[in-house]
Amino acid sequence: MPPAPQSLIETTAEALPVSVGAKPTSAKIFLLPKARMSNATASPPKPLHPAVEKLKSFAGSILPTLIMIIVLLLIWQVATDRPGAALPSPTRIWAESHEVIVDPFKGVEFGNGGLSIAEGGDVGVAGHIITSLKRVAVGYGLSAIIGVALGILIGQSVTAYRALDPLFQVLRTVPPLAWLPISLAVFQEAQPSAIFLIFITAIWPIILNTATGVQNIPSTYRNVAKVLSLNPLEYFTKIMLPATVPHMFTGLRIGVGMSWLAIVAAEMVQGGTGIGFFIWDSYNSSLLSDTIVALIWIGMVGFALDRLVAWIGRRVARTA
């Protein structure tokens, strides 16, 4: 079939000049906006003072949050501003819990190389928070050390993984409060059993994430270590720890959040001191406004703890 290729060549030959001719126009179309844009950048708006620019960008990032909070408060106010409402309105909370809001540090003494919190229940919210934070520091500190160690163990050894992982998988699903009776039975006292509760709640994500991190060390890093003949200690400090830091801190971050959940639960049941107790106590005294103030405090402190651990993680990852 000789005619077919003939016509094919003819059509392409015809098409060619058209497409060649079309190219410059399309290029012009594309160039036009570009040229305008460069004109615009040639005379930019008057630059502001850098501090003003910074303030502007800061306001831009925080403004949506602020507006959202105001909107929510307004809805809350409108919905609850009537006699017999189940929840107090924001203005009522301000009126009823004025003392709690403006004087959170009641009964807390700074100085003498430390801070002391007054005995008995008559302490501001901050005082209760500090008591709770102390417990968290001990319980979470223990879970961080033991959790990382166990995580490295089961991440490194297949036998240890097979032996312990099923156990951990089952235990990690036990809610914090379910540990409380056992904890009380073993420790007999409120303080150590609260700390144990925090420990047992926070440890699982730390163990499991650390183990995942160790298991996922790229084989090329292991090969580098082998070629360099690093001894086990050098391998641990120079390869394993720095390679595992991101996973480890994911676990530590989840852990700190969970430990904060656990402390409130533990103190609500056990009473005495701490922010959990404060909530329970104010509920029992029908001071719902105080409860709401405490709730906000708990949220803020939990948020701060999470950010703190994340910040430490970033610092460690940079220096490791």
């Binding site: 090329t220 090969n223 580098v224 082998k226 070629v227 360099l228 003949s229 120079k238 720095p242 390679a243």
Partner: protein, 267 residues
């Protein structure tokens, strides 16, 4: 006692247990390499080149056969057989200088701090990376990372330098500049080198001898070609020489006639 070459592989066989039974990757590999010789191993993907290199490195234990280095049996990894990995494998949390320093600290434990520092910088200067001492690998291009990888390996002053497709992940132009860097370093240090590649031109340009491997399973050495081009070699003038053409002819016929890519046959 039999006189062995500087690096001698004798009757190497590597098998892996799989679900379908024993899989033999390499069989009856015998290879002799002289001191200061640059050998390129070439073959299709999956033929076991990397496995063979890992056997020399001590990272893979052969099921049969022995590797001798200077008449000593080597069967564990060690800094005397430095490896340049395809993916550079620099440690991302260390700076360029610290990455090389880690190797120098291990291989020169007796040197003073200042001596080690100078040695690290000297080797980074050899690969033209002394301008980026404080940078981290993530801040470098692929070619720069591999330069640091080379510096780390040569700073160990290995008895054998092993290169596992060192430029496989780089674009053609970067690859050419790294090949030039390797040639100039090799002219200076005269290392014993085993390099894996599947780039025919790279093999001819860099190597004194090109060792061609048959396809797996049970791959072995099929043919060898001594590249007779004089050194120093220069990319542009080299490609027009008859030596180059002869080498290219031998390798291309081996790879695409006698042992075609197993994937081509499947397709």
């Amino acid at each position: 006692m039999k006189k062995r070459s500087y690096l001698a592989l004798e009757g190497i066989e590597v098998g892996f247990p799989t679900k379908l039974g024993q899989f033999t990757a390499l069989r009856d590999v015998d290879l002799e390499i002289q001191k200061g010789e640059f050998v390129a191993l070439i073959g299709h993907s999956g033929c076991g080149k990397s496995t063979l290199l890992n056997v020399i490195a001590g990272l893979v234990k052969p099921s049969r056969g022995v590797v001798f280095l200077d008449n000593d049996v080597v069967d564990t990894p060690g800094p005397d057989r430095a490896v340049i990995f395809q993916d550079h494998s620099l440690l991302p949390w260390l700076t360029v200088e610290e990455n090389v320093r880690l190797a120098v600290d291990k291989t020169r434990p007796k040197a003073s701090k200042a001596e080690r520092r100078d040695w690290v910088r000297h080797n980074l200067a050899l690969v033209q990376m002394d301008h980026a001492l404080a940078k981290r690998p993530s801040e470098l291009s692929g070619g720069m990372k591999q330069r640091v990888g080379i510096a780390r390996a040569i700073a160990m002053e290995p008895r054998v330098l092993l290169m596992d497709e060192p430029f496989g992940a780089l674009d053609a132009l970067t690859r050419a500049s790294l090949q030039d860097a390797v040639m100039s370093i090799q002219a200076e240090l005269n290392n014993t080198v085993v390099m894996i590649t599947h780039d025919v031109d790279e093999a001819i340009l860099l190597a004194d001898r090109v060792v061609m491997m048959t396809n797996g399973p049970a791959a072995t050495i099929g043919e060898e070609h001594v590249v007779t081009m004089a050194r120093p070699r220069e990319r542009l003038s080299a490609i027009d020489t008859t030596d180059y053409a002869r080498a290219r002819h031998a390798i291309v016929h081996f790879l695409h006639e006698r042992y075609t890519n197993p994937l081509d046959r499947a397709a």
